[in-house]
Amino acid sequence: MSDPVRLIEIKEEIHADNERVAQTLRANLQKTKTFVLNVMSSPGAGKTTTLLKTIETLGDRFRFGVLEADIESSVDAERIAARGIPAVQLRTGGFCHLDAAMVTKGLEAMDLDALDIVMVENIGNLVCPAEFDTGAIRNLTILSVPEGDDKPLKYPLMFTVSDVLLVNKIDYLPFSDFDLEALRRRVLALNPQIQIFEISSKTGQGFDKWAVWLSREADTFISAPDTSRPMIGKFTSVSRC
């Protein structure tokens, strides 16, 4: 007679550790009054150029820092640092996304008391970064016109977890069959609360409205009293995996 099979209860959330680290980081950011924006997109959507243009637009109002994540190189951090902006490079060594521990480690190398806004450039990838809470205060996705208006259908999670979407490279629109209205419809169906701005990081078009949104979010966060209470982030409300 064979041994009977027994059942052992586990009931453990695989990402519980990351969730705890993310909540701790958000609580710390409330103390240092540093607004951290997690920037996600495909490779080549224009993350670094958009960050630089954003800093150029708002650099006299906020003290910016940039945390760059790359699988292999440090070319993006060098581009940022060349402009005199505090930049830290995280080399993820093959990891397809950032998690809260990696972001915490990267931020430890920065003087957060001297920074108002830190933009975290996640790995260029529309799939994996959407699954991991980085501990950021807000999540931004950049989608560029050459990628096509069907991306929300293919990568729904990315658009679901984001607070704001920048549609970049709108200077390409005349040469493209990209349908902005269809994109808006698809994105809003996935996430009715998301803010959408159309921009060109090359020409600067649309940066006024995007800058207003970012300033308001950062001001609200920075001026909020430090309750030392963990913020409920977009990711955490989704019972993180």
Partner: protein, 116 residues
């Protein structure tokens, strides 16, 4: 893409839970995964077979149950469950509105394991 990392976590957690039990081998591990996860069941099992070699979890089957996402209608506040496909444009069954927010959908829970 990050199935390998997730699978390592699964193995670590189940091995941790073998402590204090007399176990010759783990037969099956029951997982509950939210509708929003992009992870491929087949690859998780594939990586698990590779990683678990030489442990009591070797040859264990991963029984993966997908559960729907929970959303809350913003106008009437009623909560309802949707599949991944329905999440592309959910409509409230009570008031018919399409203004909603996610409550859950990305759980990744190890429920229990069957052991010998």
């Amino acid at each position: 893409m990050h199935e390998l990392q997730i699978t390592e976590r699964i193995l670590d957690i189940v091995l941790k839970h073998t402590a204090g039990h007399e176990i010759s081998r783990i037969v099956r591990i029951h997982l509950r995964i939210g509708a929003l996860s992009d992870l491929e069941d087949e690859w998780i099992q594939h990586y698990f077979n590779y990683l678990s070699k030489g442990t009591v979890a070797e040859n264990a089957e991963l029984a993966i149950k997908r559960v729907g996402a929970q959303v809350r209608c913003r106008p009437c506040e009623s909560a309802f469950e949707v599949t991944r496909e329905e999440l592309k444009n959910p409509q409230c069954p009570d008031c018919g509105e399409r203004d909603w927010e996610l409550i859950s959908g990305r759980e990744y829970v190890i429920e229990n394991m069957e052991v010998l």
